[in-house]
C-alpha cells in the first residue's frame, strides 16, 4: 500500500536531484561515451542502493526510535533549511536561478582535457552526491511507519521518469521548474524535521493537534516562505551601496 504523504515528497526531491545528476552524466557521455558514463552512474546508484538497504537493516535492529527520529530529524532540518533558503533567495532575486545548461557547459569544460578516468569519476561523484540527498530523504521518510516501499519506490520512479525524459530530449532538462519544486519539497522536509525533532525531545504531547500539526507546519512554512520571498525582494541586497 503506497502512502502518498511519503511518496510525493520523496518523488519530488528525487526528481530534482536526478535532473542534476543526469546533466552531469550527459556531459560526461559526450566525452567518454555512453557506456563509460552510464557505467559510472550505475556504480554510484548501486552504492546508494546498498546504503539504503543497510539503513533499512540498521533501523530494524531495535535502536531507540526516539533517537533515530531525532538524528534523522536534524538531518532533515539541515537539508530543509538549506533548500528553502536557496529557493527563497532565488525567488527574491538575491541569487540567480539554477541553470542546467550552465552546469552542463561547466562540466564539459572540465572534461576538455580528455582524461577517461577523471571523466568517469566526475560522473560517479556527481550521481553519488546528488543521490546522497535522495538517500537521506528516502531513509528519513521511510522511517515513519516503515514506509520503505513508498519512499524508495518513489525515488526509483523519479529516476525512471528523469532518465526516460532525458534520453528522449537528449539535452539538459532545463524546463523542470527546479526552484518551485525545491520550495515545495523544502516546506515538506522542514515540517517533518521540525515535527520529529521536537517530538523526539519532548514527547508526542508537545504538538497541540498531534499528527495534524504536521499539515499545519507545511502550511506555515509554505506561506512563510512566500512571505519571505516577497519581503526580501523589496529589500536591497546585503553589501550593495545605494
Amino acid at each position: 500500500m503506497i502512502d502518498w504523504t511519503i511518496a510525493i515528497p520523496a518523488f519530488l526531491t528525487a526528481s530534482v536531484e536526478w535532473v542534476e545528476a543526469f546533466t552531469i552524466v550527459l556531459a560526461v557521455s559526450l566525452s567518454i561515451g555512453w557506456v563509460g558514463a552510464v557505467g559510472a552512474a550505475v556504480s554510484a546508484l548501486a552504492t546508494l542502493g546498498v546504503m539504503t538497504v543497510a539503513t533499512g537493516g540498521v533501523l530494524h535492529l531495535g535502536f531507540d526510535l526516539d533517537w533515530i527520529q531525532l538524528v534523522i530529524g536534524v538531518f532533515l532540518l539541515l537539508f530543509g533549511v538549506r533548500w528553502m533558503a536557496k529557493a527563497v533567495a532565488r525567488q527574491a532575486g538575491l541569487k540567480s536561478l539554477h541553470n542546467e545548461a550552465a552546469e552542463f557547459a561547466e562540466t564539459r569544460a572540465l572534461l576538455a582535457r580528455g582524461d577517461w578516468h577523471a571523466a568517469w569519476l566526475i560522473a560517479f561523484k556527481g550521481v553519488l552526491l546528488e543521490g546522497l540527498e535522495v538517500w537521506l530523504v528516502v531513509a528519513a521518510l521511510g522511517l515513519k511507519g516503515n514506509q520503505w516501499f513508498s519512499s524508495a519506490g518513489a525515488a526509483i520512479a523519479a529516476l525512471a521518469v528523469v532518465a526516460v525524459a532525458g534520453l528522449l530530449i537528449r539535452a539538459p532538462l532545463q524546463r523542470v521548474p527546479e526552484n518551485a519544486i525545491k520550495f515545495v519539497v523544502g516546506t515538506m522536509i522542514l515540517a517533518f524535521g521540525t515535527f520529529w525533532t521536537l517530538e523526539a525531545l519532548g514527547g508526542a504531547d508537545v504538538w497541540p493537534f498531534s499528527d495534524w500539526s504536521l499539515l499545519g507546519l507545511v502550511a506555515f512554512y509554505f506561506c512563510g516562505g512566500l512571505g519571505l520571498s516577497a519581503l526580501l525582494r523589496k529589500q536591497p541586497k546585503p553589501g550593495v551601496a545605494l
Binding site: 533549511v81 552526491l129 546522497l132 540527498e133
Partner: protein, 55 residues
Amino acid sequence: MRAFFKTLFGDAWNLSAVAAVMTAEIALTQTGNGTIAAWLIPLLVLASVAWLARY
C-alpha cells in the same frame, strides 16, 4: 570527502542555524516548555531560513 560532508551537513552557516534551532528545542523541552516550543520553533526555523537566504 569535503563535497561529501558539504552535501550531508551544508556549510558553516547552515550548521550554525540548525544548531541554534536545536539548542532552543533542547532548552525549551528540558525546562518543561515543550508546548511553547511547538509554537516558537517553527518561527525560529523560518527566521533561520530568512537569515540564510539573505547571506
